[in-house]
């Protein structure tokens, strides 16, 4: 999409005293995109949002909205609207007053405001609820009022700071779809902050994975999930199994890795690290639980892994097998339940196979905390 106003972060640094909250972030967000910053709490993603909205001035670098440097422009003058984690609806104002507060500031008449509030209430499927107080609405309804209030200001960029985190699981999943629909309908840029990879993957056009103030990887959901560029991104987004080791031989896009526990294995070097890894480098190989299949017992080769089964569980759609893994972490395998018979392997050694295209090698690095 080319419509909408883009946001660029150029060499953005934000420091609080000695603490570096954001380290040299470079991000180009296309106009009209749904862009997510994904990372654990304390990784600096909210700080970036506050820098875009104008509540924080960068220590270094620039924030550009629609190509204009935002330096010195306060939050009340930027074309952004922010939805807070706790929504921050005004408790003493009625819903319609909340929604049209931005119009009140500009001096719009009550009649205009009422009209606009009704339109927005229709859009968020809360018609006729304008005269209630926020406290009289449910969590999901308040959520939608906060969205309407932000959209009423007709911002070019909507910033959302984990707005779904206070909702229960069902509602959260429902609101994901709804948010995505609203974004596509209004066509403006959404910047979304979350620590929930499910939210980021389902809603976003593009995701930036953050760790301790550093942006690890930017890409669309599929790229982040299938082709992570760092150990952190591989381990933070979705479930993943790690195999530590050293590169033994580079073979074009693939490499042979000498793993600590599972012998020599072959995997694809992730796209971002192609040509950057050499023999002898410490490396990590990642294989998703669903990328394994059971292999004949004792099969040997560079795409077979043999390990002892600690326990198994039946989750309905999948059988999960937990095996002795690398570095004290269990190796998890999920076999889809297609109605096949499934014997219990607990205590036995079993052999798994995988396709090399489903195994990714990245340089050794810090893993995400569980």
């Amino acid at each position: 999409m080319s419509a909408g106003v883009g946001v660029d972060l150029e060499n953005l640094w934000i420091r609080f005293g000695d603490f570096v909250a954001v380290r040299d972030a470079n991000v180009n967000i296309n106009g009209g995109d749904f862009f997510s910053f994904l990372g654990p709490s304390g990784c600096g993603k909210t700080t970036i949002l506050r820098a875009v909205s104008g509540f924080l001035e960068p220590s270094d670098g620039r924030v550009l909205i629609g190509g204009n440097d935002m330096k010195g422009i306060g939050p009340n003058k930027r074309p952004t609207a922010l939805i807070f984690q706790n929504l921050a609806l005004f408790p003493l104002m009625k819903v319609w007053e909340n929604i049209t507060f931005s119009m009140e500031i500009k001096g719009a008449s009550v009649r205009e405001r009422r009209k606009r509030a009704d339109e927005l209430l229709d859009m968020i499927a809360l018609p006729g609820q304008g005269d209630k107080l926020p406290s009289e609405l449910s969590g999901g309804q308040r959520q939608r009022v906060a969205i309407a209030r932000a959209l009423c200001a007709e911002p070019d960029v909507l910033l959302l700071d984990e707005p779904l985190s206070a909702l229960d699981l069902k509602l959260r999943q429902h609101m994901r779809t709804e948010l995505r629909e609203i974004q596509q309908r209004v066509g403006i840029t959404f910047i979304y902050i979350t620590h929930d990879q499910g939210e980021a993957l389902t809603m976003s056009d593009s995701i930036a994975v953050m760790k301790a103030g550093v942006i690890d990887q930017i890409g669309n959901g599929k790229t982040i999930y299938n082709d992570p560029s760092t150990a952190f991104a591989a381990s933070f987004v979705g479930e993943n199994n790690v195999f530590r080791g050293k590169i033994k031989r580079i073979m074009g896009e693939e490499a042979l890795i000498q793993t600590n526990r599972s012998g020599e294995l072959v995997a694809r070097i992730s796209t971002a690290n192609q040509g950057k890894m050499k023999e002898g480098d410490a490396a990590m190989m990642f294989i998703r639980p669903e990328a394994f299949a059971l292999a004949p017992k004792g099969a040997k080769g560079t795409h077979f892994v043999t390990a002892k089964v600690n326990n198994e569980e039946f989750e309905g759609n999948v059988f999960n097998i937990f095996m002795e893994g690398d570095g004290g972490k269990e190796l998890k395998v999920s076999i889809p339940n297609l109605g096949q018979s499934f014997e219990d392997h607990t205590g036995q050694n079993i052999t798994l196979e995988y396709e090399t295209k489903n195994a990714v090698i990245v340089p050794a690095g810090e893993l995400a905390a569980e």
């Binding site: 509540f55 009340n76 003058k77 952004t80 807070f84 706790n86 005004f90 003493l92 507060f101 500031i105």
Partner: protein
Amino acid sequence: MPSFLKEFFKRNGTGMGSLMLGLVLFWTVGLIILPQLSMLDFSFRPNLPPPEIGGPKDVYTLENYKYLIYGPEGGSQDYNAVDLKVFFRTLVAAVCVTVFNLILCYPIAYYLAQTKGNHIRIFALMLIIPYWINEILRAFALRIIFGETGVLNNMLVGLGVFDTPFDFIRNDIALYAGLGYAYILLMIFPIYNVIESLDRNQIEAARDMGASWPMIHRRVVIPYAKPGISSGCTMVFMLSAGALAAPQILGGPSSLWFTQLIYQQFNDNSDWPQGAAYAVVLLVTCILLVLAVMRLFKVNMGDIGK
């Protein structure tokens, strides 16, 4: 027994509950309501020498109240202009002190409540510690500052702002300053308490939507702080209308405070019924005024207790 009482006894036990309830009742009934009722009773009786109390002349009368309005019987004026003037002047001055205090204290309370950091605790201490000094000393300290040969006049004359010392006392500036200063804590802390619980995000949300600072205060902070503002204003108004020491020490020779008239009736004239009537009039007027203002600003009684 109403359910809240049942709940109260259930939570505290019968013994402890009765003790607590008894103490509260003793405080409100024994120390506040009964003495006030006896004052009310006094105010409707003539001032008689002790032997005649309970005698045939000791009947209920409105003459003490009439005195405030019409003055002594057979007096030269139609109305008791002197006392009435003092009465209204006191009320107007108390309102002025309240408004002045609100304007002064709201920013302080907002700053204290919305700023984080250790220096806030030091600020709060600096506000509280002067109140360790007793009221009379504080009032005299202000007299030293505002007096004709006081610190302020020496400074202003020295700087050449005035040729001759300005009489802050005769012009009541010292009095207003003293009353204002006496009650700032009672204004700051209720407002501070409420604003402290205001979600900072609401201010940022308003700001994000383009609101200016005056707008944020008008639409977000002040409506939220209303209970604190009203309880602060009520206390400051009531206490300054009823203040005695500050007007006594800091008031100009010609400007009496109504409480001083009451004091004179009780003490100098030994006319308790007259003093009681004046006190009742002051109390009732103040309460009515507060209720009217609360109604005007749509404040509930329950909010004041917040």
